[in-house]
């Protein structure tokens, strides 16, 4: 092979590689669509043919009708957007408060051996209490309004974020800490310049999971007792044996969760630009 032809040959190969990847990607999208159509179509057909009882399993077309009805005429407990907003507000507030508390406590205990030795036992005990049960306590204590749901979401989020922040601090590279101290960093500067950045990827990973938990906390709280929200909507659909209503509410919640997930991923990418290419996860 001569020098002149070499670059041409590699260029051609790269192009065909990119082309092959594009083709594979199109195929995957097509396969996903096929799976979706088979599943939803099979469900719809199953109900129409009488193999599945629509009373228990609902029916895709009826679920879509239900959603359209909710959007146009509102739900049995008020306008749909209001219920969605209430749940987002409760989950969001619980998520923010729980994560901030989790990060603060995780870093404080991670940095202080005495505090962590004293409190670790209580955190283990608190963590072993089934958190959903605390929803009942919060409703008794804080009433039917938003605060009880926010409290439940906070509790759901706190332990996950706390655990990860604590672990992230403990995993911080001892060499980097030593280097920062030699370079002249005070304790607070070490925390800011070394501990926080190294714990950040742990914390961000926990935030992904914990928005889901916050949503569960808010919805379960509403389910247990509320005047509005997606949880109450599900409870009232359940009360009237309206399985299509339950499914429709599930879809709305899934859309909210996916949007939150997308926002968190975007933030994470922004914050972790310094890292070597994380295997670009296909999405």
């Amino acid at each position: 092979m001569t020098d002149a032809t070499a670059p041409l040959a590699t260029e051609g190969r790269i192009e065909s590689l990119a082309e092959r990847q594009r083709r594979r990607w199109r195929m995957i999208i097509a396969l996903r669509l096929i799976v979706f159509v088979l599943f939803v179509g099979g469900w719809e057909l199953g109900v129409r043919a009488g193999w599945l009882d629509s009373f228990f399993f609902g029916q895709p077309s009826a679920i879509v009708d239900k959603l359209i009805d909710w959007i146009r005429n509102g739900t049995s407990i008020g306008p749909l957007w209001k219920q969605v907003w209430v749940t987002i507000y409760e989950a969001g507030a619980g998520f923010v408060i729980g994560s901030v508390l989790g990060v603060l406590c995780g870093i404080t205990l991670g940095r202080n051996q005495l505090l962590s030795d004293v409190f670790s036992i209580y955190i283990k005990i608190a963590n072993s209490i089934p958190r959903i049960v605390m929803g009942s306590i919060f409703i008794v204590a804080l009433g039917l309004g938003s605060p009880s749901k926010i409290a439940l979401a906070v509790v759901m989020v706190f332990f996950v974020v706390f655990g990860n922040a604590f672990q992230g601090v403990r995993e911080a590279d001892k060499n980097l800490i030593a280097n920062a101290r030699i370079l002249g960093a005070s304790d607070w500067q070490v925390t800011r310049a070394v501990i926080l950045p190294s714990a950040l990827s742990w914390i961000l990973a926990s935030l992904h999971v914990s928005f889901g938990f916050a949503l569960i906390g808010a919805i379960v709280g509403e389910f247990l007792g509320a005047r509005e929200g997606m949880g109450l909507l599900i409870a009232s659909a359940q009360g009237s044996f309206d399985s299509n209503g339950v499914f429709a509410a599930m879809i709305v919640i899934a859309v909210v969760a996916l949007c939150a997930e997308w926002i968190l991923t975007t933030i994470e990418k922004r914050l972790l630009t310094w890292r070597p290419e994380v295997s670009a996860a296909g999405e």
Binding site: N175, I182, L183, G184, S198
Partner: protein, 266 residues
């Protein structure tokens, strides 16, 4: 610099409690002095206590016995006059080259604009101009070491501690870095305590080489390296004076390793 010694360890002991509850003696009766501006190398068998020694001088760790002094004053904590280049990469992976090099001045309260100007100057001095915005994972091992050198030298250390800084580099890069270090050190006038397990490296760089015993480490012997400066790293190792010193030191070190093995099997 009126102090007689830059670094002095007198009768120092450093012991660890192992997870099993035993006491492990890393250093016992350890004596060593380094004069201001002197380049002193420490060689010794692996695991004998070389890194432990540097830890005590840096103030990151405290001895259980004896005294460690910097310019005749006892070490009580991390000292602003000390610089430390670590064996493993210790540059901050989430900061770019500029951010890494200006870290020291910023920690020490230098205004940002001044710190940045100084950092750019040091980046140029270690030959990394154009890489200011690169993150450590985008650099080669040798370039990361250059960042570490700039990061350390920007603080104008009077005592420079180096723990096998070039051991992870390939031979050619190591030689370049050794030359670079000698030129930076000559300009800075700092006293250097340089740990290595590479005898040749110790002889090529140092004014004096201290050979340590196996654990618990003491200074077994100190060899004065009277090779003229400035030294040419690339050609010096073929000089017959170098060869003679290397033979003497290597015999000394081999004696120590053999003695330790006899004691271990006896």
């Amino acid at each position: 610099m009126s102090a007689a010694t830059a670094v002095a360890l007198k009768n120092v002991a450093r012991r660890f409690v192992t997870p099993g509850g035993d006491v492990l003696s890393a250093l016992e009766n350890f004596d060593l002095t380094v004069a201001p501006g002197e380049f002193c190398a420490i060689v010794g068998p692996t695991g004998c206590g070389k890194s432990t020694t540097l830890g005590l001088v840096s103030g990151l760790a405290q001895p259980q016995g004896g005294t460690v002094t910097l310019f005749d004053a006892p070490v009580t904590g991390v000292d602003r006059r000390v610089g430390f280049v670590f064996q493993q990469d210790a540059v901050f992976p989430w900061r770019d080259v500029l951010g890494n090099v200006m870290a020291g001045p910023l920690f020490r309260g230098v205004p940002r604009a001044k710190a940045e100007a100084e950092a750019r100057d040091w980046i140029a001095r270690v030959g990394l101009t154009g890489f200011e915005q690169h993150h450590p994972h985008q650099l080669s091992g040798g370039m990361r070491k250059r960042v570490a050198l700039a990061q350390t030298f920007i603080n104008k250390p009077e005592v420079l501690l180096m723990d096998e800084p070039f051991s992870a580099l390939d031979v050619q890069t190591r030689e370049l870095m050794q030359e670079e270090l000698l030129s930076l050190w000559t300009q800075s006038g700092a006293a250097v305590l340089f740990v290595t397990h590479d005898l040749d490296e110790a002889i090529l760089l140092a004014d004096r080489v201290a050979v340590l015993t196996t654990r618990p480490a003491r200074v077994k012997s100190v060899h004065t390296i009277d090779l003229p400066r400035p030294r040419n790293i690339a050609t010096l190792r073929y000089d017959e004076r170098f060869v003679a010193i290397a033979r003497r030191l290597s015999d000394d070190l081999r004696d120590e390793v053999l003695r330790a093995r006899r004691e271990a099997t006896a």
